[in-house]
Structures are given as C-alpha cells and as structure tokens.
C-alpha cells in the first residue's frame, strides 16, 4: 500500500510538483459528479506528463498491489474516478497536449487530458468538427469521455465517442505499452480493441494517447422548437421524423415539469400549459437539403397537432436553445440537490418511458423533471431531492430502482451514456445476466490479473 517509500518513488517518477500528499489536497479527489455514492480520500495523487511515467507508476503499483484510479476532469456521473480503496489517483489534467491535427487524414492525435471543447476549438480553425458533445464538454477530458464512451446532443445523427476513435496508446495493468489502430479509415487487424477500451471505464488499461476521427463541420443548420399538449403527439412526431428519413442533429425533449421550471426560472417565453416540447435542429452541407429537412419536420409537427417556432437568425437560434441549456440549472434551483439518471429505451418506447416516470414520481410523491435526447431514446429523469431529508431519500432510492426496472422491461438499457461505475453496479446483472457478468470477469482477470486498475467499478468481482 502507500507508504513513504511509495510516495518517494512517485516523486522520483513525476517530480515533487506533480505529486499531492497533503490531506487537504487529497480530499478534493474523493468525489466525482455522482450524487449519493461513497467518497474516499486517496493515498496520493500524481499528475503524469508522458506515457513512460504512467508505465513506471503501473509497475510500482503492481509490485505493491496498490489500486490505481485514473481520473480526467472528474465529471463522471457513475462514480468512475472515485478512489474507493484509497490507493493512487492518476490525474490527467496536466497531460493535455494536442499532439497533431491532420486535416487531410481528418484526424487529431491528443493526450488524454485535452478538454473536449478545446479540441473542438482547435479543429474548428480547419472547418472540422469532433462530434461527441456531452453536456460537460467544457470541462470533461477526451480520456474520460473515451473511458465512458460519452454521448451528447448530436448522438442521433453523428453517433457517440466510440464512433470517433481510430486508435490509442494504452498502458496495460501489467505495465506493457500497447498501441493499436492508426490513421487509416479501414483497419481490421487483430481484435477490435477500440470497442474494447472505449467505455471500459478505466478498468482495463490507462489511455495515454488517442487518435480521434474528425468530420467536416456542417455549413448550414435550421433550428425549431415545437410544443404539444399531448405526450403521445410529441412521441409520434419523433418517430415520424425518423420514419420520413430525416435524421436531425438534435432532437431533444422536455416534459411539463421541466418546461414549467425552466420558464419559472429563466423566463425564456415557453408556454407552461403544454405537456412536452421538442427542440429540433437539422444540419448539413447543402442549403437546399437542410431546408427540405426543416420543412419536412414542420409538416410532421403540424400533422401531430404541434405548434412551433422556427429560428431565422443566429440570435433566434440562441433563444430557442436557451430553454434547453436552462433545463438542468432550472431544475437544480428547486431543491438542494438533483439526481440525474440516464435510462434509455428504444425510440418507439419513448412515450411509455415518460409516462412511467411520471407515474413513479406520483407514486413516491417526488418531483421528477425529465428531459433528454428523444431521438436516441436517452432520457434524463432528474430527481429533485433534499439529501438532508432521510425519509425522502428512501423514497428516491425506490423510485430510481423502479425507473431502471421499467427501462429494462421496455427493451432499454441501464445507461445510455453515463456508464455503470459504482452507481449502477447492483443493477448490472438484471441487464446482462449471469453469463454477462462471468464474461466481464474473465476479460477483467485476463487483462488485469492483480485487479489493481480502478477496482470496484463496472465489473462486479463478487456476487
């Protein structure tokens, strides 16, 4: 475990300025953004600047059987970077160089600590885009989003992180450095390691370099907002749009509780007597096709009894988006704390899920505002809670259990984008079954025989 020798060795590897040992410093590495999970203070925090240092740390940790917890910006919503068994936190925020942007191959090679928004600012100069855009992109790191396979608002049309990773360098829990993939569009050599490591939540290897795929940034876009007095109409609009072969870049939904709270807080001019609103944005390279898609959406909204506003200018677009941006801040004002879930169902079950959440809210007498990425069935039921109220928290836990039960019964999944971490570990078996758990254990044991890398996360090691 961590003693003076261990710390001295860390100081040798990283330099004293990149090693934190004071209790007060360590306390601020005991959490991520997940509410209601245990916190633990790590034994030491180190900040690598290169791969070799990471490798040396892994070898040291392996010799001493010390758990290692990789950490990006600590915005995870499932407990990923929390050092449950103390150990060493390896923080990537200082390993944050954009190594190369290659506009001809449409790639960017980055260190894991690069902030997603900064990568996007850098590639925007070339008219390019790195599409994965989690709500946390102003702070979350590429390494953290790779480890969580983060999604975002553009998921429906552009996919999620795993679709934009072409290769990586990984330090394995055994200390080897492993590079795979590259700048080629096609690559079927060996196993598909991208899909193994993306979403592995820091349990299989430490990512030290990433080759990201870029796309030309769409030149035109059209945004609109639509209001519905029946949830069913909103749900049908979502499926009709896709059925008509329009794939919007953004197709967001907000329920009544969220709309009312947003209007109450931000006064953006939303009608408060509707059941749901949809925020729709279509984009593309050709003006005509974008206009055609927008018209198609309007037609479908009207057929489904919706009213709508369409943005003609950038300022108007901003004001439409203001509603969506205000969703979480507004809900957060109501009660001292919020619990943001991400149960996800097939697009066609959207309305069933929304209704079920509303019923659960009633049953447990809780306030739940739901918004989310309607286009990909990824909802964020947001429970507004007072953590100091024990009795209420008990109801909250029951409600959360039930939300997941419903999502699975509708053919959905426990997590659309936030990951399993520790927060959803207890539900895992309900989705992937006994054989799934066994398979995960075998993979974990094969790659991390000493179970030193982010132990206690994602893979339930005991029953």
């Amino acid at each position: 475990m961590i003693d003076k020798t261990f710390i001295d060795k860390c100081k040798n590897i990283f330099g004293p300025e990149n090693v934190l040992t004071d209790k007060a410093e360590l306390i601020s590495y005991s959490y991520d953004a997940t509410p209601g999970i245990p916190r633990e203070i790590p034994g030491v925090v180190v900040f690598p600047e290169n791969t070799k240092q990471v490798q040396e740390l892994v070898i040291l940790a392996r010799q001493t059987k010390t758990p290692i917890y990789p950490r990006g910006a600590g915005t995870s919503l499932s407990g990923g970077p929390v050092p449950l068994s103390k150990g060493v936190v390896i923080g990537f925020q200082r390993m944050n160089r954009i190594i190369e942007i290659d506009p001809d191959n449409l790639t960017a090679t980055v260190q894991p600590g690069v902030v997603v928004a900064e990568l996007n600012n850098a590639v925007a100069k070339y008219g390019l885009l790195y599409p994965p855009d989690p709500g946390s992109m102003a702070t979350a790191t590429v390494g953290g989003t790779v480890a969580e396979n983060a999604g975002g608002l553009r998921g429906l049309k552009y996919g999620v992180t795993k679709h934009y990773i072409m290769g990586m360098e990984v330090v394995m829990p055994t200390g080897e450095i492993f590079r795979f993939g590259g700048k080629t569009v096609k690559n079927v050599t060996a196993y598909d390691f991208t899909h193994l490591f993306v979403g592995s939540e820091g349990t299989l290897g430490i990512v030290t370099e990433i080759i990201c795929k870029l796309i030309p940034a769409p030149k035109y876009r059209k945004s609109m907002i639509a209001f519905f007095s029946k949830l069913e109409d909103a749900g049908k609009t979502v499926t009709d749009i896709v059925r008509n072969h329009v794939i919007p870049a953004t197709l967001e939904i907000m329920d009544k509780v969220t709309i009312q709270t947003v209007e109450n807080y931000a006064k953006v001019g939303l009608p408060t007597d509707v059941e749901a609103l949809l925020l729709i944005e279509v984009d593309g390279m050709g003006q005509d096709s974008v206009l055609w898609e927008a018209e198609k959406c309007v037609e479908i909204i009207k057929q489904n009894n919706g009213t709508y506003k369409i943005a003609e200018t950038d300022a108007e677009r901003d004001s439409l988006w203001a509603a969506r941006r205000a969703a979480l801040p507004a809900l957060a004002q109501v009660k001292p704390a919020t619990i943001l879930e991400d149960a996800t169902v097939p697009r066609t079950k959207l309305v069933d899920m929304l209704v079920a959440v509303q019923n659960i809210a009633k049953k447990y007498n809780l306030m739940i505002g739901t918004f989310g990425h309607a286009g990909d069935g990824n909802l964020h039921p947001t429970l507004l809670v007072d953590p100091m109220n024990k009795e209420e928290m008990e109801r909250v836990h029951k409600a959360v259990d039930e939300i997941f039960e419903v999502a699975l019964s509708l053919g959905g999944t426990l997590s659309g984008e936030h990951g399993i971490g520790v927060a959803k570990l207890k539900y895992l078996k309900n989705e992937i079954g006994r054989s799934g758990i066994e398979t995960m254990r075998r993979i974990k044991q094969a790659l991390d025989p000493d179970n030193i890398l982010n132990p206690g996360k994602l893979v339930p090691m005991e029953d």
């Binding site: 934190l20 004071d22 209790k23 007060a24 410093e25 306390i27 601020s28 590495y29 005991s30 959490y31 991520d32 953004a33 997940t34 509410p35 203070i41 925090v45 900040f47 910006a73 600590g74 915005t75 923080g91 925020q93 200082r94 944050n96 902030v115 928004a117 946390s136 102003a138 702070t139 979350a140 979480l328 801040p329 957060a332 004002q333 001292p336 704390a337 919020t338 953590p387 100091m388």
Partner: protein, 435 residues
C-alpha cells in the same frame, strides 16, 4: 459579534451547510476558474474548496490545518466560477464564510501572517509599504510616465518584486484631500455621492478628478465625503468580517448624513461591496435596512450615466483604438458590462476592438498577485497577450485594481498600450469639445 446579529455564514460555519449542499460537483466551474486554468488541480477551483468545506463540517479535517488554510486562501474571489455554475452556488459566501471561520479560530494576525508569509519577508513588507509613499524616490526608479520600478532593495520582499515590477506613482496628496467636498452645478439634474475607494484616493486621483468633471458636464451635483472609509472588501476577503462590518456601518452613517440620491462608484470591487456585500454582512443587525436602502442607490458610473440620468454624450473627438477589459467584480457581481462599451462607442473617434476573453480575470485579486505571484503572473500574462493581440492603443476598464495589474503586466511583457479608466476617456472627449 454584536448581540443583535443573526447567525450568518460569516459567524457560524454550520450555516454554510445549506450553501455547500447546492454544489452538485458537476465541475463546470473548472472551465471558468483562472487559477484552475493555471494550476490544474482540484483544490484550485470552487468545487475542490467546497469539498474542503464539507470535510470541515464532517470533521474529516481541522479548520486550522495549515495546508487547508493555504488552499482556502488560494482564491481570487473573482466570482468567475459563479457565472458558470448551473446550480447557483453562492461561492462568494462560501469562500468568505470559510475564511471568516479560519480567522475566528486562529485570529486575524495569524491569517495575515499565513497569507503574507507567502511573501518572503512579511514584516519588512508591511513597513516597506508604509514607508513607500513617503520615500518612493528612494525605492523606485522612474520608468517612463508614472511608472515606478523598485530598486533591487525591494526584491527581498517577495517574488513579485523582481526587476520588472512597476507600480503607478503614489499620489503625494490624497484625492479626497484635494477636492472640495461638494461641487454644485446650475440646474442640477441629480445629486450623487462619490464613493472614491482607496485606489482612486491614493493611486489614481486623476480617475476621481475625471469622474467629477464628467458629472459636472452632465449637470450632476457631487458630494465626495472626506470621512468616507475603505469599502471593507480587502479585510473581508481575508476573513476579517468584524472590521468589514465596522467599515460598512461607518460608511452607511456617512451616506445617511449626505442625504444624496445616488452613490456613484468607479471601482468594481467598491461598488459590489456596497451593493451586494453590505446587505449580506449586515444581515440581522440594526443596519440591515440601511444597507438595503443604500444598496439600491449604488451605481457604477457607466450605468449611472446611461440609465439614471439624462446623458450628454461628448462631442470632442479622441482618435483611439480601444479594447475593454471586464473587471470581475464589475461584470460578475454588479453585472455591468454593456454600459461601459456603449459609452466607449459613443465617444467620437474611438473604435472598440474586443480582445479574446474580455472577462477573463487579470489576476490581481487585491493582494493575491503579491501573495501568489507564480500563479498570478501566469494569469496576467495570458491577459496581456490577449490585449496585445488586439493592437489597441489603450485598454479601458472600470476598476483601478485591474488598472494597476494591467499596467504592471503591460510593462513587464512590453505591451505598447495605455491603461485607462472609462471615465478618463470620457473626460478627454469633453475636454476636446471645450477646445
């Protein structure tokens, strides 16, 4: 604590709980915090400090833990994090509440010592600053117009005082000593009490003079009470709430006596102290109502000119390419950022060019730039580079503390750009008009 005072976050650390609990640890504040941007560690940013507050309340760490004290004082109180916070966490109250709790536990002298212990030689520094005004010619060499660079002698006090350090020349006679308390105008449209603040009084009397001139030009009667005190912000940020309360009460008494309609400020920090902090620190005292009443009458000069009175734009031409720096307290606390720009654009001949991040903190933070020189220098450098990139002839701002920091930074990194207060430019234009 006065017997009448209710328990506020500044008196009882337990009351911080309801503020701390609002933080959902989302990490959004990281994208806004100037210190985090340089140091890249959790304890630099609001979220980390909030976690420290929670740990204190949970008895996980002692409030007088030496490192904890150091970390809690590693904050500019610039409120940038609050702009990015989706949860509406009132971090200003949290950080000042924690500092007040530390000061209560360990005493003000300890805090000052801990803080200024970061300078190499605190006692000498204190004496030096006092002797400074009287003997600047001895300490400093003349560095162009108004700039004063310290001789080698000063360097032993701390990192910031290296060969590139400059300060504006201290005024020999303070501003309030040399202006008349009341300046009446014919057909006045309003009466404004001018709250000068210390920096104008000692370092930038020209800003004060230009303000009075601009008020006169707009037919506003001014009252500049000689007895007014420091706004209290500098002691408040060091956790000395009692002194801040004393100063606040004295200032409120003085305002009452003047019977002025409005209070006008030219400093973002003074303005936000009067407008936002006084009602908070005096909550539950017999001064609560007074504080609220006067808070409503406080205006930054730019808002006062454009929103309160009938403004007479200057007609004289000032050919100048200007960029505007948002003072943190002016923008993030007083929410004033449009009006100064509007004013600048109304001056004939002035072209306004925006820098990359006009509201990024300059790194001054009162004494932060002296006590935390390494980090502050990095913050200031980024600011200066952004200013230089605009190619502007002058950078304008609404806060004398920022003016000092920008002045120092532009000298240090060879920026060929003047530092002005918005009222300086306005006054210039009126003077041109007069011919």
């Amino acid at each position: 604590m006065p017997a009448t005072a209710a328990k506020t976050v500044f008196d009882d650390v337990e009351t911080l709980k309801r503020e701390l609990i609002r933080c959902m640890k989302c990490g959004n504040c990281m994208s806004a915090c100037p210190i985090y941007n340089v140091e890249k560690k959790e304890s630099s940013v609001a979220r980390g400090k909030i976690a420290l507050g929670e740990a204190i309340l949970d008895d996980k760490i002692n409030i007088d833990d030496e490192i904890l004290v150091k970390l809690i004082f590693n904050c500019l109180v610039c409120k940038s994090c609050m702009m990015a916070c989706p949860s509406g966490v009132r971090f200003d109250r949290i950080i000042l509440g924690l500092r007040a709790a530390i000061a209560r536990k360990k005493g003000i002298p300890f805090v000052k010592k801990a803080l200024f212990g970061l300078l190499k030689n605190p006692e000498l520094f204190d004496k030096g600053m006092k002797a400074f005004a009287a003997m600047q010619g001895f300490f400093l060499t003349k560095e162009g117009e108004k700039a004063r660079a310290p001789r080698g002698f000063l360097r032993q006090f701390g990192k910031r005082f290296d060969k590139d350090f400059v300060l504006p020349e201290l005024s020999k006679e303070s501003f309030r000593d040399r202006v008349s308390e009341v300046i009446d105008v014919e057909n006045s449209q309003a009466t404004a009490v001018f709250f000068t603040g210390c920096s104008v009084n000692y370092f930038y009397p020209d800003v004060g003079e230009d303000l009075l001139f601009v008020l006169r030009k707009n037919k506003v009667k001014s009252i500049t009470p000689k007895q007014q005190n420091c706004c209290g912000m500098p002691v408040m940020v060091h956790g000395d709430i009692e002194t801040a309360r004393e100063l606040a009460k004295k200032n409120l008494d003085i305002f009452e006596k003047t019977a002025g309609q409005y209070i006008v400020t030219v400093c973002g920090s003074c303005g936000s102290a009067l407008k936002h902090e006084y009602p908070i620190i005096l909550e539950g005292t017999e001064y609560e109502e007074k504080a609220k009443k006067w808070a409503e009458r406080v205006y930054d000069i730019s808002t006062f000119l454009l929103k309160v009175i009938k403004f007479e734009p200057p007609k004289g031409k000032v050919e100048l390419k200007v960029t505007y720096h948002d003072s943190c307290h002016l923008k993030k606390s007083m929410k004033v950022f449009n009006e100064p720009r509007q004013l600048l654009k109304m001056i004939p001949g002035v072209t306004l060019v925006e820098m990359k991040k006009p509201d990024a903190c300059c790194g001054s933070g009162g004494s932060y730039h002296l006590t935390h020189a390494d980090t502050a220098l990095k913050i200031a450098k980024a600011k200066v580079e952004d200013i230089k990139a605009t190619g502007a002839d002058a950078v304008c701002t609404g806060c004398p503390a920022c003016m000092m920091e920008l002045f120092e930074g532009l000298h240090r990194w060879q920026g060929d750009c003047k530092v002005l207060h918005t009222v300086n430019l306005l006054a210039q234009a009126y003077k041109k008009e007069e011919g």
